[in-house]
Amino acid sequence: MAALLLLPLACAVVASLALLVAEADDVPADDDLAAACAHAARAAGDDGAIVVLPPWTLRPLAALGPAAARVVGGDGPAAALLPGRFPRVVAVVEPDAAPWLPALAGLGAPRSAQRFGAVDVLVFDGGGPARFDLLTALPGARVDVDGRPCTTPLERGAVRGHGCEGDDAGLRVTREHALVSESGRLVVRVPEPRPGARVALRFDDVALGDTLVVAAGHTRAGAERGRAMIVDVVVDDAVVASLRRAPSFFVEPSRAALRAAFVRPPAEDGEGFRATVIDTRRLGGGAHRLALVVRAAADDGAHTTVDHELALDAYVPGPGGAR
């Protein structure tokens, strides 16, 4: 009986003191972060991407200075959209990042690794640049709603996009940072104007390769209020893929089990903003017309533009980004 009463405490005290000591050095020093981030900024250059891990850490952003604009996140959605997109990917890795490292496996082994105190900087060959990148191509896109063009250029702060006119006035397709995961990332936001309508983003002369990566999903607000949405991927007037996204918010794979145990079961058809890789080899290389057409999965006539907002990203990996 004495053991029953005291053993849990004894084990807890030993475990507690051991963990307190073991994790005492987990917080990177400011100087180490500064040195690591300076190295990362140099390694990324002007066209590389920077990933910070764990994704919740923001101290590297402060240390990176203007190079922080090259940070593409580090969480699941960010990692899935890296291979073949940038010439280089540089990861600034703090302690406690282990759950997130598997997501970088698509980049292969790092070309170099350097340690700054508790911070690692890993430099990967990114396999890019991408042949086509939705985020940079958006300003040149033709946007229409059921064929009616949206021609007003939008520029507000760092947000860029297209505004619609006439019956669709108020509708905007913009490139901005949105909460498609707890970290947020740069995406194209596409709200649907009215029940049954289709918003199309059209691009000419898109050089396709072996694959086309399209990511879509709801923002946090859209997941709360919205309904299922569909993105039709159209190449040269033929639908090559349809991506269905139920209204849900992205769940990090490393959290899925805990979330299922303590919060709610996972959705059967996947959750939140995620990438789909479309095999485009049968379409052949060269220039193609590409359209991303967004619509609601069901037309029940009871929603608003806010309900049916969807976040998009897409790119054609460069030759070094075979997936």
Binding site: L5, L6, L9
Partner: protein, 581 residues
């Protein structure tokens, strides 16, 4: 066992020490969102106190009451009134401290009282060494210690709930004592509504353990229940002048507010919970990942010991036995209280009911779950007493297993209890020190402390209190007349920062990033969008300051590109937890 004059002296010393430590460690703690409201209430209510002194008839009139006390009727007057009285006294006496110090002072005193009442309750039931362990466990819990600092109601109602149960155990047997219990309940309810169901627990406990039918088959209710039902409401109304002009109507509106309380989002395993039904495990899981592991182990062991002994006591009472319940042998070597008055299991049941009720209320899927762990904090003192009991009992059994012991050995074992109690409390203190002043972001060993909690997607801050450490930088770099977007900090807290000289007077309050000169935002959960607003509006991804606990960001400060720095950045980085480039 009963408390002696010496024990009451120890209680007084505990109250003073805890209040002083809390006051001394509050200097870096920013103003919480709710404090903004209560500071404002305090300032308004101070006017009522002044009127009460200068013109009592006006102060006590309906117009006088509504003029000064109509603000924030969502919570009773007692604590806000004490904040106000402290502010009025400070002003009248010309004490040279900031207003927020005067406003928080009563909360610190109540914090001291909460520890003192844990001591008194524990001393009612345990030897001194056990009572000391109970106090150590209670005050060393990082979330409890953090809540002791703020001018809110949660530590107040925790103190009052503990005092009420102590009064119940200590005094209810006599007519005078019954009056004391009735008054204690009235005062407790005047702190916050959490304790309103407690009399139902007393009735349930009495029915299960003590009730006796008379020969005509009727239950004879003890006087104390009449005091709880009749005297307490009078005390409650007397302590809340706002109710006086329309007691029924205003109390009904107050009750309705809390029965239909809005839901604030909370991040839980990466899910932003915004609306019911909420996971029923929430309070248990949150406790399991925020209470330091050794304390948690003792609380669980104590709860299990309490459950076993309570089950035995109930069995002895309700199952036909050859011996009466009073003759049922005690299951433990160390009794919980005076077994001549009540078997240990009976007392353990009372502690279990009071300890677990706050958890159960929050576990109901429809109950609002915002506020981290504070809404079931008033159950913790009882679990601490049970935990201390488990430790004392365990050591007593170890002592018996060792064999024959001399009185000297007995003293050594008593010392062992205290030493083990100190060791058990130590991790909580270390965790508090490591994250201070960001105690709301503290997590325990099970989840990997604050960094581990961030990895699994737990809420790491709310109430916007982090901002204080950023104010020196904001003062140094914000252009004259510029406005600050303050994230979760509300306009009332902004006004207090300005009023107390912590924020430059010309720095206005902005409701959005657009148009602001500087943005202080909490980059997680419901506030994460504000960080993206900074990126989208200003195109700046590199914050000028990151306030963090254990490297986990709690808030960031970013200046608009047009804000020209008047001094070099980073000069105002806080003592700990701030990273500036």
């Amino acid at each position: 066992m009963t408390t002696t004059r010496g024990d009451r002296g120890v209680a007084a010393r505990i109250a003073v020490v805890v209040a002083v430590v809390v006051g001394l460690t509050a200097t870096t703690l920013g103003f919480t969102r709710d404090e903004g409201y209560y500071f404002k209430a305090g300032a308004l209510y101070a006017g009522w106190w002044r009127t009460l002194v200068s013109d009592p008839a006006t102060a006590l009139s309906a117009a006088g009451i509504d003029r000064h006390l109509a603000y924030n009727p969502e919570h009773p007057f007692l604590l806000k009134g004490s904040f106000a009285a402290s502010l009025a006294l400070k002003t009248a006496l010309g004490v040279p401290v900031a207003d927020h110090v005067a406003l928080r002072l009563p909360a610190w005193i109540v914090a001291g009282l909460s520890a003192a009442f844990v001591w008194l309750l524990a001393r009612q039931l345990l030897p001194r060494r056990g009572a000391l362990v109970a106090v150590l466990l209670f005050v060393s819990m990082p979330h409890v210690f953090w809540h002791m600092h703020v001018a809110c109601f949660d530590i107040g109602v925790t103190a009052a709930h503990t005092a009420l149960v102590w009064a119940w155990l200590r005094f209810r047997g006599t007519p005078r004592g019954a009056v004391v219990v009735g008054v204690a309940f009235g005062v407790a309810a005047a702190m916050k509504h959490n304790v309103l169901p407690v009399p139902a627990l007393f009735v349930l406990h009495w029915l299960l353990t003590e009730s006796v039918r008379s020969r005509d088959g009727r239950l004879r209710l003890p006087l104390v229940f009449f005091c709880l039902a009749l005297l307490a409401p009078i005390v409650y109304v007397v302590l809340w002048p706002y109710l006086w002009p329309d007691v029924v109507g205003r109390f009904a509106r107050y009750l309705s507010f809390h029965l239909h309380h809005e839901h604030y989002p909370i991040l839980y395993f990466g899910d932003l919970l915004t609306a019911p039904p909420f996971p029923w495990l929430f309070p248990f899981v949150m406790s399991a990942v925020t209470i330091p592991l050794p304390t948690l182990a003792l609380l669980v062991t104590g709860t299990a010991l309490g459950a076993v002994t309570a089950g035995r006591a109930l069995g002895a009472r309700w199952r036909p036995r050859r011996v009466g319940p009073e003759l049922e042998p005690e299951a433990t070597r160390v009794p919980l209280g005076d077994v001549a008055v009540a078997p240990s299991g009976q007392t353990a049941l009372l502690l279990l009911l009071n300890g677990l009720l706050p958890f159960v209320l929050i576990a109901l899927p429809s109950t609002p779950i915002f506020g981290g762990t504070k809404h079931w904090m008033n159950g913790l003192p009882f679990l601490c007493v049970l935990g201390a009991w488990a430790l004392v009992e365990g050591v007593a059994r170890l002592q018996a297993a060792v064999g024959r012991v001399t009185p000297q050995d007995g003293r050594r074992f008593a010392a062992v209890v205290v030493v083990v109690g100190v060791v058990a409390a130590l991790p909580g203190v270390v965790i508090s020190v490591r994250v201070w002043p960001y105690g709301l972001g503290s997590y325990n060993e099970l989840v990997g402390f604050t960094r581990g909690a961030a990895n699994v997607g737990m809420q790491r801050t709310f109430w916007g209190y982090e901002a204080r450490a950023a104010l020196p930088l904001v003062n140094a770099r914000t252009p004259r007349g510029g406005r600050i977007h303050f994230g979760d900090v509300n306009a009332d807290s902004h006004a207090r920062y300005v009023g107390d000289g912590l924020l430059r007077r010309d720095i206005g309050f902005a409701g959005a990033v657009r148009g602001a000169a500087v943005a202080h935002v909490e980059p997680q959960g419901e506030f994460k969008q504000q960080q993206l607003d900074v990126w989208n509006e200003w195109g700046r991804h590199d914050p000028d300051l990151v306030l963090h606990a254990e490297g986990v960001p709690l808030s960031t400060v970013t200046f608009a590109p047009s804000s020209s720095p008047s001094t070099s950045p980073g000069t105002a980085a806080p003592r700990a937890g701030g990273s500036a480039p």
